[in-house]
Amino acid sequence: MSSAASEPDAAASRDVDRAQYGLAGVLALVGAYTIYDATTLNVGFGDPVGPRIFPYAIGAITIVLAVLLTVATARGSQAEAEAGEDIDLTTKPDWLTVLKLLGFLIFALLTVNFLGWAITGAVVFAGCAWSLGSRTVLRDILVGAVLSVASWYFFYVVLGVPLTPGILDGIL
């Protein structure tokens, strides 16, 4: 769509996109596992079709697609990475930022039941903003706290859905 995406692609199109072999490998594994998983199912009496056929078909075609992708990659087929208004595809991927974001999401899933949504949500907001380059940490924590407490009350009062209060049980 945008010219920023096509230029580096054109320059690199002589090379083989090796990461696509990785994708093909994962697809082949998923397809194989889908077929294996289907073999463990029982087909009942009086059930002419059973629960196996559909996963067999999906698994088998997924493996075929993995093979086709491998062939296409070897022939130089390039992925057209997605462009967007905040995306600059001319630079190298910034893996550190991605890892930081993943870290805060993992923090959220580990702590949400214990700390409760109000605290975990605030940490997720402030932590993600910091990961993405914001340096106004205090303000971000404040905004995060307002967002998470407000959303907790919105769900509790307006929607009647009590999100986990966690250690703030009794205070909220």
Partner: protein
């Protein structure tokens, strides 16, 4: 007219002060989220779905209709004021709209988009009122074999019509179908692909899949490639149009509507094709066609109308067949199911009141959109200046909230993270999103229909072919798959007529 009086009844039910309030809140929230850069209508609808939990089905549908139209309008505001749109359906709007904005005519561009969307949405909803019952009456007679064939057709169409690479489209589709397998087999109750996790036995909630792939995937992808320079947003006043703008806009609005509605109703990727066609038509018909490429108002009016009319059109297969044809429609289907409504041929009979209320609320949401958003445009424009770290932190915050609120399990946050990684991967490898989402939601339906059809013939494959309609559809699928090969062979000999079109797509 029978349909019309039923619609009036629906309007009566929907037009209570409290319901209009719900619709207004929906429009505001939908526009707010839709305007945010990087969030298209499908993501807006998925992120805002939890807001309607706890409401009754009628109120939830009314609010949801507002969110839907608001999210769509928000997306076109973004593409006019910032170049490079977030959604394929607003690519065409962005071409002329952003040029107009840069030439100091942002107010007129936003006005023609808003009024065009309103007109197209209203006509589209009225057409929906007449076509959905007709189709539903026919659809009641459709048996499992034909139903299976129709689903297959829509998956093949969506996968092969869109995108530059069919291989990647099919990869995306089969990732989706595999995700759709997870959970208990519907007829024997055996667990499939749950990897020993009992929480997976109920299947994976489409909301978690959609929010993970759209919101978390987008945030991670942007984080890896964040543009480190300020974005220039065109300042905007209150939208208005002069006499000349009106006279140049009304025909494109109507033509765009005529193109958009039928394309929305068939599974060909929603608004992408009709907005593109509308742009080409307007450019060809315009008296001052040299203005195109420099900010011609016809180039905003037509595609925007086509976009909204096709959004109304997608409700025809959704309500009459239970068949979603766009990512947004898939999430609406999931939303309706979560309110206990099962769209399909029987819906108009079993829950007629609800359907007519929904159709009426589409009209109300559409009208409120115009009333609320014309004066608020300058406010929405300011949203585009939210600093990017806080913007994407906010998207991740609401994504986590939405996924967690579904059933309040930390496990859903783990799924959200995993689907975020899938979303990152499909952006990296250029896999289209739509086939994946449709695979998740249509896969289980397809299997059910296949097994119903085969059960009748005791497992003989002929069970899939014993309806005339099914055979016709299989022939159609063969044509769809083979036609491009034939065309390519012909085109190889006769030069490239479509170079014109390709240039527009590339710009």
């Amino acid at each position: 007219m029978d349909s019309l009086s039923l619609l009036l009844g629906g309007l009566q039910d929907a037009l209570t002060p409290i319901n209009v309030l719900y619709a207004a809140v929906g429009v505001l929230l939908g526009t707010f989220v839709g305007v945010l850069p990087g969030i298209g209508p499908a993501m807006a609808v998925a992120l805002l779905l939890p807001v309607t939990y706890g409401l009754g089905p009628t109120q939830a549908l009314i609010m949801f209709a507002g969110i839907y139209y608001g999210g769509m309008y928000g997306g076109s505001t973004t593409s006019i004021l910032l170049n490079t749109p977030g959604e394929s359906s607003s690519v065409m709007t962005a071409i002329e709209g952003n040029k107009m904005a840069k030439a100091g005519r942002a107010a007129q561009a936003l006005a023609t988009a808003a009024i065009g969307s309103f007109i197209a949405g209203t006509i589209g909803t009225l057409l929906l009122v007449f076509f959905a019952p007709l189709l539903a009456n026919q659809a009641v007679k459709i048996g499992a074999p034909s139903y299976f064939a129709i689903i297959l057709l829509s998956l093949v169409l969506v996968t092969s019509v869109l995108g530059s690479s069919k291989l990647r489209g099919f990869i995306s589709l089969f990732i989706g179908l595999t995700i759709g397998l997870v959970g208990l087999d519907l007829s024997t109750g055996q667990a499939r692909l749950i990897l020993g996790q009992l929480q997976l036995a109920d299947g994976i909630d489409i909301v978690v899949v959609a929010v993970g792939i759209f919101a978390v995937g987008e945030a991670l992808w942007v984080a890896a490639h964040l543009r480190r320079r300020p974005i220039d947003v065109v300042p905007v006043g209150r939208p208005f149009m002069g006499r000349e703008d009106w006279s140049r806009s009304w025909r494109p609005w109507l033509r765009g509507t005529a193109l958009g509605f039928p394309f929305g109703a068939v599974p060909a990727g929603g608004a992408e094709t009709p907005t593109f066609l509308s742009y080409l038509v307007e450019r060809r018909l315009a008296k001052n066609s040299d203005e195109f490429g420099k900010g011609a108002i016809e180039g905003v009016a037509g595609p925007e109308a086509a976009n909204n009319a096709s959004a109304a059109g997608t409700f025809v297969p959704l309500l009459a067949l239970g068949l979603p044809v766009t990512a947004t429609a898939s999430i609406i289907l999931a939303a309706m199911q979560s309110y206990g409504i099962q769209p399909g041929p029987d819906l108009l009979g079993s829950q007629a009141d609800l359907v007519w209320t929904l159709l009426a609320s589409l009209l109300i949401g559409n009208t409120l959109l115009l009333v609320i958003n014309l004066p608020l445009a300058p406010v929405w424009a300011r949203l585009l200046q939210i600093p990017r770290p806080q913007l994407y932190a906010g998207i991740l915050f609401f994504a986590a909230l939405g996924a967690y609120a579904v059933s309040q399990q930390a496990f859903d946050l783990l799924l959200l993270l995993l689907f975020g990684l899938v979303g990152f991967a499909i952006r990296r490898f250029g896999l289209p999103v739509l086939p994946l989402i449709l695979g998740v939601i249509l896969g289980p339906l397809m299997e059910t229909k296949m097994r119903e059809a085969l059960d009748l013939t005791d497992g003989a494959v002929s069970g899939l072919f014993n309806e005339a309609l099914a055979i016709v559809i299989y022939l159609l699928i063969a044509v769809v798959l083979l036609a491009p090969l034939v065309v390519r062979r012909l085109r190889g000999r006769r030069g490239s007529d479509r170079r014109d079109a390709d240039e527009v797509m590339a710009s």
